[in-house]
């Protein structure tokens, strides 16, 4: 019975979301991207690192639908495998940022006072450095690799999550069930985990969805400047970077991965927009 209730909350959100056609399309695009990432070895016609010097910079053909890059590698296969790297960039870095941000935000918001002041002022300093610059420096310090780029992006985007969580916790903290929990001897840890976070997490869902998009974009940018995925592993940003030298003669080499980045970021943002409306109880009818 309990499972049924949980399901009905989800179906309620889905019912609201369905009204926004763009958000539904975005959701399916994202599901498609995830499937492509998981099934990449089955979908890709060639291994991503298989070179064929004879086909260097070859145009589209029946065997190679989107053509070949400078080293004669199949661009379509590289795009398909690249989905893995790009999605990992977006999802894992947001997961890191959200976990740290939720923790900081919940503690700062719940305890208030000097804990709140101290952590928020530290975040002010943190945010004074532009997020992308911070990620670039972190990635550069830790050394260029996909894993380090993800960590750098995650750390760089913490403040946004922490602030949203804190604001949301501040409203939950005043509720009487928090006081009721204190009156039945619940400790701070239990109150934060069982009463505060579940009720304050709502606004984070939108932020997380949108965050995936912006981290895919930032991750591609890191790869573009060589701090992300390392060759020969394909990543959309890195592919654009590699296509840079032949941009005039073969603009499509940069265009395809660019379109992929655009579609995935757009899908994340549209879904985030849709979710924000679907989760807002004031818009219910």
């Amino acid at each position: 019975m309990k499972r049924q209730r949980k399901k009905s909350r989800l179906s309620e959100i889905w019912r609201q979301l369905k009204k926004n056609k763009l958000a539904v399309v975005a959701l399916f695009v994202l599901i498609l991207l995830v499937l492509v990432a998981i099934l990449a070895p089955l979908l890709a016609p060639y291994p991503y690192s298989q070179q064929n010097p004879k086909l260097s910079n070859a145009g589209p053909s029946a065997q190679h639908l989107l053509g070949n890059d400078k080293l004669g590698r199949d661009i379509l296969s590289r795009l398909i495998y690249g989905t893995r790297q790009s999605l990992a960039m977006g999802v894992v870095s947001v997961a890191i940022a959200a976990v740290i941000g939720i923790t900081i935000g919940a503690i700062a918001g719940y305890y208030g006072g000097w804990v709140d002041n101290l952590s928020m002022r530290l975040l002010d300093i943190y945010q004074a450095v532009p997020m992308f610059l911070l990620s670039v420096s972190l990635a550069a310090i830790m050394g260029p690799s996909l894993r380090n780029a993800i960590i750098a992006l995650g750390i760089g985007t913490v403040p946004g999550y922490a602030r949203i969580m804190r604001a949301s916790v501040l409203t939950v903290r005043e509720k009487e069930y928090i006081e009721a929990a204190k009156a039945i001897n619940a400790g701070d840890g239990r109150i934060i985990l069982k009463h505060v976070i579940p009720n304050a997490i709502g606004p984070m869902i939108v932020q997380i969805t949108m965050g995936v998009g912006s981290c895919i974009l930032a991750g591609s940018a890191l790869s573009f400047i060589g701090l992300g995925a390392q060759p020969p592993v394909p990543e959309w940003g890195a592919m654009i970077s590699e296509a840079r030298n032949v941009m005039r003669e073969h603009p499509t080499h940069a265009l395809y991965p660019g379109i992929c980045v655009m579609i995935s970021v757009l899908a994340c943002n549209l879904l985030g927009d849709g979710l924000r409306d679907a989760l807002d109880p004031r818009l219910k009818n």
């Binding site: 019975m1 309990k2 209730r5 509720k175 009487e176 069930y177 006081e179 009721a180 929990a181 204190k182 009156a183 039945i184 001897n185 619940a186 239990r190 069982k194 009463h195 579940p198 009720n199």
Partner: protein
Amino acid sequence: MTPLLEVRNLKKYFRVRAGLLHAVDDVSFTLDKGKTLGVVGESGCGKTTLGRTVLHLTEPTDGQIFFEGKDITSPTKNELRRLREDMQIIFQDPYSSLNPRMSVSETIMEPLILRGDMTKTEMFAEVRKLMDTVGIASRFENAYPHELDGGRRQRIGIARALALEPKFIVCDEPVSALDVSIQAQIINLMLDLQEERGLTYLFITHDLSVVKYISDDIMVMYLGQVVEKAPADELFANTLHPYSQALLSAIPIPSIRHKQERILLRGEITSPVNPEPGCRFMARCQYAAEECKQPQKLEESSPGHYVLCCRYKEINNL
């Protein structure tokens, strides 16, 4: 017999930008086991803060609290843990006093889990029993608060408070957010529980008809101070303080023939921040005189009847 609860000169001040806010100022009372003390007063008079301070949900600024003869003014962590099993609270707003993400049985079970002396099966059985006691059908076990009406929610709040088998319960306007018909049900439930379990209530409300029905003693508060305190019947028969008189005159009388004489208070409630030493009701009192600017003392007019007014004799022709 030692009273179950004794509060002596309790003070709770909040530091605000403009100065010190006197939420509870020098309140004393005793409360015997099985009795109900009604606390009435308008919003912002400190009655809620009084209840929360007694329960140590906020710490008192000054004064002493005794529970079963033991000083509990500044308990250690362990003492506070045990104390909270004896003292519980029922909240005003059943829409915000229940965690929307927890089902009925989870909510009622939480205090049992935290006390940690029962097995899972025992806890489930206890939850069923509590639900039965407060009159919620067991089919609502897995319901979430938003699926229930206000009366049922308030019953869940009562069940949660009863779970630890407390001796003393602070009822913070437990019925003011409910429909009148449901108010009666909840109040009767609380009276039944009091009788069965020998509970002691500190009943905070602004609804005078409710307080008359449920209380043994009544305490009228104004701006953090007790202005009048008496057994319920005595207070309604011989109202001495001008503020209590105005308050009581506001009770609607269900009769068309009876012409009601209402005392209408003029002016705004005085700020509780850095109040003057004199009578706090002076600015709105029709009997205000020069002597009211002096600090007031609680006087016993007849046994058990206290009033905080230097002119109460003149006003009431005593």
